[in-house]
């Protein structure tokens, strides 16, 4: 077995938006930087897909910080970390300027003005990215900054000794080569997690960094919230019409028509309303809008396709991940940093507000993590790594390849997907069902994962991804069981309302003596909503059985302020 050793100051894992920013900032601080990606930088992860970017611009656009902060707190149901929300808002303009200076394309109207959207929650404004401009531009910038890129290598484990990160071990996905990285600092920019949904282009996003960090003892947060992306019934695997502008420029639906003919407005891109309607027996649901008679690009015949759920299966969004220990996205493990969707900033809270928070969050956290990692690396020595540790990690990385029989990663992934995909598990949760699925996922963890086998390097990657997905499933189930209330996109049939102030708290998960153990992190009291306000005013989005939302709020998609130039109705897709 060939082994390739690489020594660097800063190892950045993942070459998307966050990884690019982290790598370039660390390089600009004088550190040696290597970016490693299991795919091809500019084509892996979720960076190829965003079409909106929130930019807070009080100077040029007159944006009001308090109002924007209020909007996020309201849609995020007070579960956003206001400190991080404010950081991302304030620094989003710098990220935007950086992207403009690098030549990333933004859509403009005929007069050359940048097109802007409004998030559904009112005043939050975003600009529109040109299709497929961001990711290739970032790749070019990495190369221009002299950063080494190692591709088709999947990292499987962090190297940790004396409570410090010393590097990471990984395997090639195309031939049988082991890679050992020695680094003073590691920045995990590995994106979110999914269970490899068919077609939703997140199959490469399997929570690898979060899984490695968890196994290294680091705390993880935000796992109880559910991705609600839906797709077309005719071609369930092809969710371009919801997730990407290509090929037709289609905007996602604004509303749903139920089987009984009732039209329901969707108060945002990520609500559980479709799940609630399906659960009540009112599916098939048909998307409505944005304009009358708008065709679905998947739809060759008359009438739009029905909409079915679970497109972004297992996906976690902006703000879940590794609990940041400081303003530089460090962690409880010295030398380990995270950024982007692997970093648990909780920037948007319990529900995604729409309007492109992924890109600025990744830019801001990447920037901060890159600076933090470089500063750490400057003050640190390259520690020699115990050969025994590397040998053990290498052996476990290669174990699926060495096994003569067992379970194929595709099949285990299918079992996992089958078990967690139905809406009534993670979408509409209930204690008994969550426990039941946890039993099965526990079996997968204890019996199937240790017997995963791989016939070649391609399958070896998949075996490790499957292992990480099983871990992610356990995190999602345990966090959902622990939070005995409903909030945002976390819904429990057995605890169907928000519980203030008991659950004005975050859930963190950590390995304690080999067991995944959930704990609470209290939200600072001055971030709480005014508990004197009636429940319906605190929480305008009603769960089933609750009163209708406050009718005095802004209608869907309307801007709270600002001019109308280039206004696009509608809400962001998955970005």
């Amino acid at each position: 077995m060939k082994e390739v050793s690489t020594v660097t100051d800063v190892l950045v894992v993942g070459g998307g938006m966050a990884g690019s920013f982290a790598a370039i900032r660390a390089r600009q601080q004088g550190a040696d930087v290597v970016v490693v990606d299991k795919g091809h930088v500019s084509r892996s992860g979720s960076t190829p897909y965003p079409k909106n970017m929130m930019v807070f611009d009080p100077g040029a656009r007159g944006h009001d910080l308090e109002r924007w902060m209020g909007e996020v707190a309201l849609t995020g149901e007070y579960l956003n970390d206001r400190a991080w929300t404010e950081v991302v808002l304030r620094e989003s303009r710098q990220v935007f300027d950086q992207l403009v200076s690098w030549g990333v394309g933004f859509r403009k109207d005929a007069d050359g003005r940048i097109l802007r959207n409004w998030g559904v929650s009112g005043g939050i404004e975003s600009v529109q990215l040109e299709a497929d401009s961001l990711a290739p531009t970032l790749r070019g910038q990495l190369l221009r900054h002299g950063i080494s890129i190692v591709e088709r290598v999947m990292l499987t484990e962090l190297i940790v000794a004396d409570n410090r990160v010393l590097g990471a071990v990984g395997v090639s996905t195309i031939n049988e080569v082991v890679h050992v990285f020695t680094a003073k600092a590691v920045v995990l920019c590995t994106g979110a997690s999914s269970f490899k949904p068919y077609g939703f282009p997140l199959g490469s996003v399997t929570g690898d960094g979060v899984a490695m960090a968890y196994r290294a003892g680091v705390e993880i947060t935000g796992k109880e919230f559910y991705d609600t992306h839906a797709t077309s019934a005719r071609h369930p695997a092809d969710v371009r019409y919801l997730s990407m502008e290509r090929p037709s420029g289609q905007m996602p639906p604004l509303g749903l028509r139920t089987a009984e003919g009732e039209t329901i407005e969707l108060p945002g891109p990520t609500t559980l309303l479709p799940e609630f309607e399906a659960h009540a027996g009112r599916a098939p649901l048909t998307p409505v809008g944005p304009g009358p008679g708008a065709p679905s690009p998947c739809d060759a015949g008359p009438g739009p396709d029905a909409m079915v759920g679970g497109a972004g299966l297992g996906y976690g969004g902006v703000g879940e991940g590794i609990w940041p220990a400081d303003g530089h996205c460090g962690s409880s493990l010295p030398g380990l940093f995270s950024a982007g969707e692997a970093c648990g900033t909780r920037v948007v809270g319990a529900r995604y507000p729409g309007g492109g928070w992924g890109v600025p969050s990744a830019g801001v956290t990447g920037d901060r993590a890159g600076r933090g990692a470089a500063a750490w690396a400057v003050g640190a020595e390259t520690e020699p790594i115990d050969g025994g540790i590397v040998a053990a990690l290498t052996a476990s990385a290669l174990a699926p390849l060495r096994r003569n029989g067992g379970f194929g990663p595709d099949w285990v992934t299918q079992m996992l997907r089958n078990t967690v995909a139905p809406y009534y598990v993670l979408g509409i949760g209930k204690g008994d069902r969550l426990e039941a699925v946890l039993t099965l996922v526990g079996f997968m963890r204890d019996h199937l994962v240790p017997r995963l086998m791989a016939r070649d390097a391609h399958e070896l990657r998949k075996a490790h991804e499957t292992r990480n997905m099983v871990l992610n499933a356990e995190m999602k189930l345990r966090a959902a069981l622990f939070r005995t209330e409903s909030r945002g996109t976390h819904y429990r049939e057995d605890f169907p309302a928000r519980s203030d102030p008991d659950w004005l708290a975050w859930v963190v998960l950590a390995d304690r003596d080999g067991h995944m153990t959930p704990a609470r992190r209290e939200i600072p009291r001055d971030w709480w909503p005014d508990l004197a306000l009636p429940y319906g005013s605190r929480y305008p989005l009603a769960f089933p059985g609750e009163d209708r939302p406050d009718e005095t709020r802004q209608p869907l998609g309307a801007p709270a302020q600002g001019d109308d130039d280039g206004r696009q109705g509608g809400v962001a897709g998955g970005d």
Partner: protein, 551 residues
């Protein structure tokens, strides 16, 4: 969908549900007893169910030198002593008469040059089967059924039984697939359920039309069900997308018969082939020895499991008989074939050809008994007197139940619900290598499907209405399987519990019985009579020749 369907009434002494071997025998024998008979099949009688695929028939004949005690011993030993000796013997004794019936009706059996019937079997013991080939015999049966004067109603799914004010079965309701407006009310003095076994519609195994409809209807009418903890571990071909060991039709040997070869594990070690059906592959897969390969002359074929998932052991699951006339605990209701849980085989399938022979025997018995019963309630068979009245509230209930999915405007599609059910039940670690916590986990999901999905199933047309009812029946059957599996806290035959990995003769020489009590599924046991129990002084290894992991 009009709110008031076009109600067609079909009246006869006996209604037979299902047109395979058991159903045709029931119809013909009921006609021979003088009853008027209607036979309903959701497909086409003679082409539906498992009968077209069953080629072997076990025939016992003392004149051929067969030794009853030796034959019985084979079944007992390889059933893990859980067969009902009375039924096993009865079916042996009557199998030759049924064989002669089939010969008389034109079914041809394989014969040697001298004209003698060829018999074969697996080398477990003396039991032997004759071969009638596949596909064509059921057509002969259909012809004989027509000739007998029974009325065949094809492409009509029966969804529920009707009971009179005394609690006796007095008919059933159903609907034709080809008429979007019609429903059928069958009025009868007795009903024979011959609707076969069932599976979970795993593509490639030709039992997709069998969904335990008979068991489900009987259970809902108050009958007792047994044998649900035993599973069918048929394996299939992994090089086709769909597993199918039924590669008989052009894809097997040139002679049309399936071919088998030795199966090896990932390390190349040859797998045992224990009995006719045992869980060897499942145990090895669980231990991390998959993938498996079958060595065939034309090359290696990957072997996968769970091909017939959802099915139980032939002649070891279904409606628990109240008597040897195939009656049930519900007056007027009879069951035959795979729908009858007479436990002629036990915890594994003990002899090739037992199934089809017993379909013939129990079908004939059920038909005759149903005719007699109909005669009693109608004052003589074919008396021309009207069948007992169906209480209007009962008819309304049954028709509402039938039409609910068609009347809904939305809800859950039956294919999705079936897929979710398959996902829940198919993994080997749920229904093949069982453990209490995993069974309980699957049961939680199945209960959710029962309570929240089944009531909201919707159907856009009569085809989907059939699917919706099939899904409902599969969900019920899955609940039965999981509860029975949880209940039997031992391992026996094709029921294996990791947490109870051995046979427990003191506790579990007993059949598990299920029935509905106050809206819930209640479980109990019926002990194996002392006279049939294995000699406890015989060592465990001799009592039970098949080994579980670790034994």
């Amino acid at each position: 969908m009009p709110q008031q369907p076009d109600v067609r009434v079909i009246e006869s002494d006996v209604l037979v549900v299902g047109g395979g071997m058991a159903g045709c025998f029931a119809a013909i024998k009921a006609r021979e007893a003088g009853a008027t008979v209607t036979l309903a099949d959701k497909g086409t009688c003679g082409k539906a169910g498992q009968t077209p695929f069953a080629g072997g028939m076990l025939v016992f004949n003392e004149a051929w030198g067969d030794d009853l005690e030796a034959w019985l011993r084979q079944i007992e030993v390889y059933s893990d002593h859980l067969n009902r000796r009375d039924w096993t013997e009865l079916c042996f004794r009557e199998s030759f008469a049924r064989f002669e019936d089939l010969c008389a009706w034109g079914v041809e059996f394989e014969r040697d040059a001298a004209g003698q019937v060829v018999r074969g079997g697996v080398p477990l013991g003396p039991c032997k089967a004759v071969h009638m080939g596949v596909v064509k015999p059921p057509l002969k049966l259909r012809r004989q059924t027509e000739r007998s004067g029974a009325r065949i109603v094809d492409r009509t799914m029966v969804t529920g039984l009707l009971k009179d004010d005394d609690g006796a079965v007095c008919g059933a309701v159903g609907f034709p697939l080809d008429d979007e407006d019609a429903v059928v009310v069958f009025r009868a003095g007795a009903v024979v359920l011959a609707a076969g076994a069932g599976g979970l519609k795993v593509p490639g195994w030709p039992i997709g039309d069998l969904t335990h409809d008979g068991d489900a209807m009987a259970y809902r009418a108050g009958a007792t069900i047994t044998g649900k903890e035993f599973v069918d571990p048929h394996a299939g071909r992994g090089d086709w997308d769909a597993p199918s060991a039924f590669g008989r039709f052009g894809k097997g040997g040139d002679d049309g018969k399936p071919r088998f070869g030795p199966v090896v594990d990932a390390a190349g070690e040859e797998m045992p082939r224990t009995g006719t059906l045992f869980l060897d592959l499942e145990f090895a897969a669980h231990a991390g020895r998959a993938p498996f390969t079958m060595k065939l002359p034309e090359g290696d074929v990957p072997v996968v499991g769970g091909a017939a998932s959802g099915m139980g052991v032939h002649k070891a699951e279904g409606v628990w008989p109240a008597g040897h006339d195939c009656s049930t605990q519900v007056p007027g209701l009879y069951a035959a074939g795979d729908a009858l849980g007479a436990m002629q085989s036990g915890a594994t399938y003990a002899a090739i050809g037992q199934s089809i022979a017993n379909c013939a025997v129990t079908g004939a018995r059920a038909g005759a008994a149903a005719a007699a019963r109909a005669g009693e309630v109608r004052g003589g068979v074919a008396s021309g007197r009207p069948a007992p009245g169906v209480p209007p509230a009962e008819l309304d209930r049954a028709l509402a139940e039938l039409l609910t999915p068609a009347r809904r405007r939305g809800g859950f599609g039956p294919r999705w619900a079936t897929q979710v059910l398959q996902n829940t039940m198919l993994p080997y670690f749920v229904m093949f290598v069982k453990r209490g916590d995993r069974l309980q986990a699957a049961l939680t999901t199945v209960e959710f499907l029962r309570d929240s999905v089944v009531p909201k199933l919707f159907a856009r047309d009569r085809h989907e209405l059939r699917l919706a009812h099939e899904t409902r029946n599969m969900v019920l059957n899955s609940e039965m399987r999981l509860r029975a599996s949880l209940f039997r806290e031992e391992s026996r035959g094709c029921h294996y519990r990791e947490d109870f990995p051995r046979r427990d003769d003191d506790g579990w020489l007993a059949w598990v019985l299920l029935r509905e009590r106050d809206g819930r599924m209640a479980l109990g046991t019926e002990p194996v009579p002392d006279a049939w129990r294995p000699d406890p002084s015989v060592p465990y290894e001799e009592r039970y020749p098949f080994r579980y992991p670790g034994e």
